[in-house]
């Protein structure tokens, strides 16, 4: 059963996967008229999480701030809050202009009882510098829950609003928002492959490297400041680290053999990666600050694709020690090895959910790969994709609600994202050569908010 309430207006991040059966029932009793006119798309088959309804009041404008700027802030905030998977945002203006939306608002408000959550923004623009004040309050009790001020350059308006959105999500749910997060990936530029990056929803796409060689398998640092990747700049596949603030690239590992598939530990202190420096593809962990190396696997088979558990105590990886690629877990010191009991033929590309309870991976299918989720508690694997073409490289959003992946479902390879239960698939790139997405944390260096000198 699928009920769809199609959205009329425009740019919002429209993945209105609404919540549980209680919402479904509310909507089932509403008339078909409201279904045709409101902007919420409801999927009755998705019973994963309940969204908190939050009203966005019209921005209060100060100094040179215009009506247009105020509305732009609301639209970005609206989009960001929906992207969080935990909040159902709606704008007051819409409610007043559209009585059906007001009914939706009332329906949405029901689960929160007497609380009516609302956000008031105040914006000031002076000499290209923006001061954005966000106030989260309970309209029913007329009580301020949280208040914060964001300052930055006019050019970084989106980032300022992303910061507000993430703070609202965190205040309301205790979870991480994803508005400040970014996705890096590999894309072809003529004969070479370069690293690209974009915002979580595909906006602000930019090329991060131009080394005119192979640059592969990007991975984010926990603080959102650096990207590690494999590059053939020296002719050999070495690991490089790119500091995004000065835009400087330096060697991380310069040694014989292949170095690839880096993964930063959740506390930012270690980097796991694959190296053949001792002859065979093994997994190593390097201390970031002193570059001390620890070899974690000891096996003549291929060991590849490490991914840390969110506690940093375990690592899931691929090994072909049983004859073809399978998933194994070991403690962060390389001890206590065990195979994940997944009854499928050829499994690779594991990615441990930041929530800890799931591991996304790919399994070979006749036309390529499909993405699966292994549920650690239940010990079961669930298939998420079954479209034409191949679906690969799953990686998690920082809140663990979504996965980015590469797919050839529309012809050539591009980056997509979907909810962790496989619904609400969104295409994020349109280059046709995009692979290896890596989703950052939602931490952004303070320098990024400032005006460029």
């Amino acid at each position: 059963m699928k009920i769809q309430l199609n959205k009329i207006s425009s740019i919002r991040w429209p993945f209105h996967v609404l919540s549980g059966w209680c919402f479904s029932l509310v909507f089932l009793v509403l008339s078909t008229k409201i279904m045709a006119q409101t902007e919420v798309r409801l999927r009755a088959e998705t019973r994963t999480f309940a969204r908190l309804p939050v009203e966005l009041k019209p921005s209060q404008l100060r100094d040179q701030a215009t009506q247009e700027l105020g509305q732009r802030i609301l639209d970005i905030l609206d989009n960001d809050l929906w992207a969080s998977s935990t909040v159902a945002a709606f704008q007051s203006e819409e409610s007043r202009a559209n009585p059906e939306a007001l009914r939706l608002e009332l329906a949405l408000s029901r689960p929160t009882g007497s609380i009516r959550l609302a956000v008031q923004t105040k914006v000031s623009l002076l000499h290209k510098k923006i001061t954005l004040e966000g106030q989260l309050f309970d309209g029913a009790a007329n009580k301020t829950l949280e208040q914060k001020i964001y300052r930055g350059c006019q050019d970084n308006l989106r980032l300022l609003v992303h910061a507000l959105a993430d703070d609202i999500v965190n205040s309301l749910t205790g979870e991480k928002g994803i508005a400040k997060s970014r996705i890096a990936f590999t894309g072809a530029v003529s004969e070479s492959k370069e690293i690209f990056m974009m915002e979580y929803d595909g906006s602000n796409l930019r090329q991060a490297t131009s080394f005119k060689t192979l640059n592969l398998t990007p991975a984010w640092s926990t603080d959102g400041r650096e990207i590690i990747f494999t590059s053939y700049q020296r002719g050999n596949p070495d690991l490089f680290v790119m500091d995004l603030i000065p835009g400087r690239v330096s060697y991380l590992i310069k040694d014989n053999g292949l170095h690839s598939a880096p993964a930063w530990s959740p506390d930012g202190k270690k980097i796991a990666f694959v190296s053949t420096k001792d002859g065979n593809a093994e997994i190593y962990a390097m201390e970031v600050y002193n570059k001390n190396l620890q070899r974690l696997t000891q096996h003549p088979a291929i060991d590849s694709s490490p991914s840390w558990s969110p506690t940093g105590r375990e690592i899931v990886f691929t090994s072909d020690r049983l004859g073809n690629p399978q998933l194994f877990v070991m403690d962060a010191e390389g001890t206590n090895l065990r195979r994940l009991p997944i009854e499928l033929g050829y499994n690779d590309s594991p990615a441990w959910s930041p929530r800890g309870d799931k591991i996304a991976f790919v399994s070979r299918a006749p036309g390529g790969f499909d993405i699966y989720i292994y549920d650690i508690v239940g010990g079961t694997a669930t298939q998420l994709t079954s479209s034409a073409g191949t679906n690969e490289d799953p990686c998690w959003s920082p809140d663990g609600y979504r996965l980015a992946f590469s797919s050839t479902r529309d012809g050539r390879s591009d980056i997509y994202s979907m909810a962790w239960d496989g619904v609400d698939v969104r295409r994020l790139t349109f280059k046709g050569t995009c692979t290896s997405p890596a989703w950052s944390s939602n931490v952004r260096p303070a320098e990024e908010f400032l005006c460029k000198e």
Partner: protein, 190 residues
């Protein structure tokens, strides 16, 4: 903490491990060779783990005959044109096919005749499989080829290796023929 234990799988692993252990044990008994480090012995069909070192490599027993033949047939540079042929691999494999062994023997002869030549063996894969896994597989392919050529008497300083994974396909077709052409090792003069 979860240990992902599935009794069935653990049992299977235990059974498999047991089978492998028994196989290894019988191999040792048949060979009558109570080696002091049995874990370094690999099953016959598996390639020996490559080791990068500048020391001359000890000959691998199975290859000794070919090595002697090659050594006996060392020719002058002028008589042997510097032509090195590609070799090909099966899907998700890095062991050498009979054709690859023959090609590598020819390539070894060329390198021995041109003892000043330095080459890099490039390991390549077809597009199936992940970027990370194919990089490691290409590395295995290149090193297995190098190892065999060293066993035929080629000077280890003449050969280095690199993996390009699936990033440099020769054939862009998404078909069995295309994939077969891409699962290869190439020999490039430095």
């Amino acid at each position: 903490m979860h240990r992902y234990s599935s009794h069935k799988s653990n049992l299977m692993i235990a059974m498999k491990a047991g089978t492998i252990f028994i196989s290894l044990l019988s191999l040792l008994i048949i060979a009558g060779c109570p080696s002091s480090k049995p874990m370094t012995q690999t099953p016959a069909e598996e390639p020996v783990e490559p080791a990068v070192t500048n020391e001359p490599e000890p000959a691998i027993p199975a290859y000794t005959k070919a090595a002697e033949e090659t050594a006996a047939a060392t020719e002058s540079a002028a008589a042997v044109p510097f032509v090195l042929q590609k070799i090909y691999f099966e899907f998700d494999r890095y062991d050498l096919t009979p054709e690859a062994l023959q090609t590598l023997a020819d390539n070894a002869r060329v390198l021995q005749a041109h003892s000043d030549a330095r080459i890099v063996i490039e390991g390549h894969c077809d597009e199936r499989g992940t970027v990370e896994y194919n990089l490691a597989l290409g590395d295995k392919r290149a090193k297995t080829a190098r190892e065999y050529m060293l066993s035929l008497g080629v000077n280890s300083s003449q050969i280095s290796t690199i993996s390009y994974g699936k990033e440099r396909p020769l054939d862009t077709r998404h078909s069995e023929e295309g994939w077969a052409r891409n699962r290869r090792a190439e020999f490039a003069r430095r």
